[in-house]
């Protein structure tokens, strides 16, 4: 089924549209040398605005996950995996995503994953698959 898409903002567009260039982009504070997510107009650590989107490796590991079995919408294919992936660039740099292209039961905490993009309209959703 078609997914609900986010409203794009100046701050969030690099994250949602970086996949158009094949890049996962996360905001980076040059003063703190610190990645942060979700995006905002200032670095939450120092509240300065010396920030810019920076391409990251797209590699990380599964911090936690769940296999959703409930069909919340008649067109929703179940089961599927929702996960929080932590990126290699920085401890705690993480976000909610899906793990795809594998059996849901094969997902584990700590599993190594890499980004893959799913385009819908003008958004490239950063999803993850096993990194073998």
């Amino acid at each position: 089924m078609k997914r609900k898409l986010p409203a794009l903002s100046v701050e969030s567009s690099p994250f949602w549209q970086g996949g158009g260039d094949g890049q996962l982009k996360i905001l980076f504070c040059k003063a703190c040398e610190y990645y942060f997510h979700p995006p905002g107009p200032v670095c939450p650590k120092c509240t300065e605005d010396n920030i810019a989107p920076r391409e990251v490796s797209g590699k990380g590991s599964v911090a936690t996950y769940t296999i959703n079995h409930q069909r919340w919408h008649p067109d929703l294919d179940v089961p599927f995996v929702i996960a929080i992936v932590e990126l290699d660039e920085q401890p705690g740099l993480r976000f909610v995503t899906n793990i795809i292209n594998c059996e849901p039961e094969s997902v584990r905490i700590g599993m190594r994953v890499k980004v893959t993009f799913l385009q819908q309209d003008d958004v490239w959703l950063p999803l993850f698959e096993a990194d073998q």
Partner: protein, 397 residues
């Protein structure tokens, strides 16, 4: 943290009331609200003319949405109240934010007697739309909400997906097992059987639990609370006037409302949640200790949240929640720490926050009937999950 003045110590609960708990109710949301409020005012030995403040969380924040169809604005005129202060609104430390705000209003000298209420009609709503609560329906078109937009594009359609991930992480870090977590649901059901107002009163066994379907692993059907139509109300009174009320005042010994992390479901401590911040603040405002607590009403919108609150509040050591509740004896009505004594939200009904305060007072005033615990004077109410967290330590007398 240190606090020079702990204002909530000057505030007490003096009365409680609750409408019928319907699944669904044939009464209007406002009728349920009035039923609860009149009962609470009368229980305190007051009249409506003495009520000079009214507050609800979240109040009517979405034009009559079933999550909270009645707010203070509507109630004031309906009941002919004349108040010095009133308030509502979603942002704040979770489902007992109304109690916290009301206590602040009294501590600030704005009011003497505050009516706190919470109305919910999610059962009626779900007869019309089974998935009325889907997160994807909170916005029309693209998701512009500051929080949900980070989850709904990944087909996170219910809060259970987020809280299931807290459970999975807890299982991974601490070796917690499904058979242990089951005790939250089983304990609530055992208590609900003794509560005539509870929604689900048929016996529930561990085998029933383990045979139930997964909604979002590792959480199953019985790990989810049950929608209802109900309203709950309590009266907060300034201590000096509380002494003149009908019941022995139940003092607000300490409250916790802290948030030291982002208001986010995935950027916070996944097993401590905001609960850890709120609990730490609460204990810093009192000389009481966790071992003084005789019972606890701990939020069970999903079972895992109750377990995480047990740990956050220091009622058991961090990571030990699964082993603490194993077998269910400790948290049973006859155990060392009875929890969710009216069946909680899992079996009693999702009265959402104030129901726990109502039950805490029911137990301290020894009105529990067949579900009454052994007499005690100190209890905890804690509510919320993820970034939502508020808690309060209540002491009778």
């Amino acid at each position: 943290m240190s606090f020079r003045k702990v204002g909530e110590k000057g505030v007490a609960i003096t009365g409680i009331g609750q409408s019928e708990v319907g699944r669904p109710s044939s009464k209007s949301a406002m009728q349920l609200t009035v039923d609860a409020c009149r009962e609470a005012i009368s229980d305190a030995g007051l009249t409506r003319n003495e009520i000079d403040g009214v507050v609800s969380w979240p109040g009517d924040n979405n034009n009559g949405d079933a999550f909270s169809p009645v707010g203070p604005n509507a109630l004031i005129g309906t009941m002919g109240l004349k108040v010095n202060w009133y308030g509502g609104g979603y942002e704040g430390p979770g489902p007992i934010a109304g109690v916290i705000n009301g206590a602040m209003a009294i501590a600030a000298g704005l009011c003497k007697h505050v009516l706190v209420f919470r109305t919910i009609t999610e059962s009626s709503r779900r007869l019309v739309d089974k998935n009325a609560g889907a997160l994807t329906k909170k916005t029309t078109g693209r998701d512009s909400s500051f929080s949900w937009q980070w989850y709904t594009p990944f087909n996170v359609m219910s809060g259970i997906n987020l809280m299931a991930m807290y459970a999975q992480r807890h299982f991974y870090e601490f070796g917690t097992r499904e058979e242990q977590l089951a005790q939250i649901a089983l304990t609530c059901r055992a208590n609900a059987i003794l509560n005539a107002k509870a929604v689900f009163r048929d016996p529930l066994t561990l085998d029933d639990y383990m045979a139930s379907r997964y909604i979002s692993t590792p959480l199953r059907l019985f790990d989810c609370d049950v929608h209802c139509d109900a309203s709950t109300a309590i009266i907060l009174s300034r201590n000096d006037v509380a002494k003149d009320c009908k019941n022995t005042p139940i003092r607000i010994e300490a409250m916790g409302s802290a948030l030291h992390q982002p208001w986010s479901w995935d950027q916070i401590d996944l097993t401590g949640m905001a609960a850890r911040d709120a609990a730490g603040m609460m204990w810093s405002r009192t000389d009481y200790k966790p071992e003084d607590v005789g019972s606890a009403q701990l939020y069970d919108g999903f079972s895992i949240l109750t377990l995480l609150w047990l740990e956050a509040l220091g009622l058991c050591p961090e990571g030990e929640g699964g082993r603490f509740i194993e077998g269910g004896n400790r948290i049973a009505l006859s155990g060392e720490l009875p929890i969710n004594t009216n069946g909680g939200q899992l079996s009693g009904g999702r009265t959402h926050g104030l129901g726990y305060i109502h039950e805490a007072c029911t137990q301290l005033w020894q009105r529990g009937g067949s579900r009454q615990t052994k007499a005690h004077d100190v209890t905890i109410v804690a509510a919320g999950g993820g970034p939502l967290a508020g808690c309060t330590l209540l002491v009778k007398g």
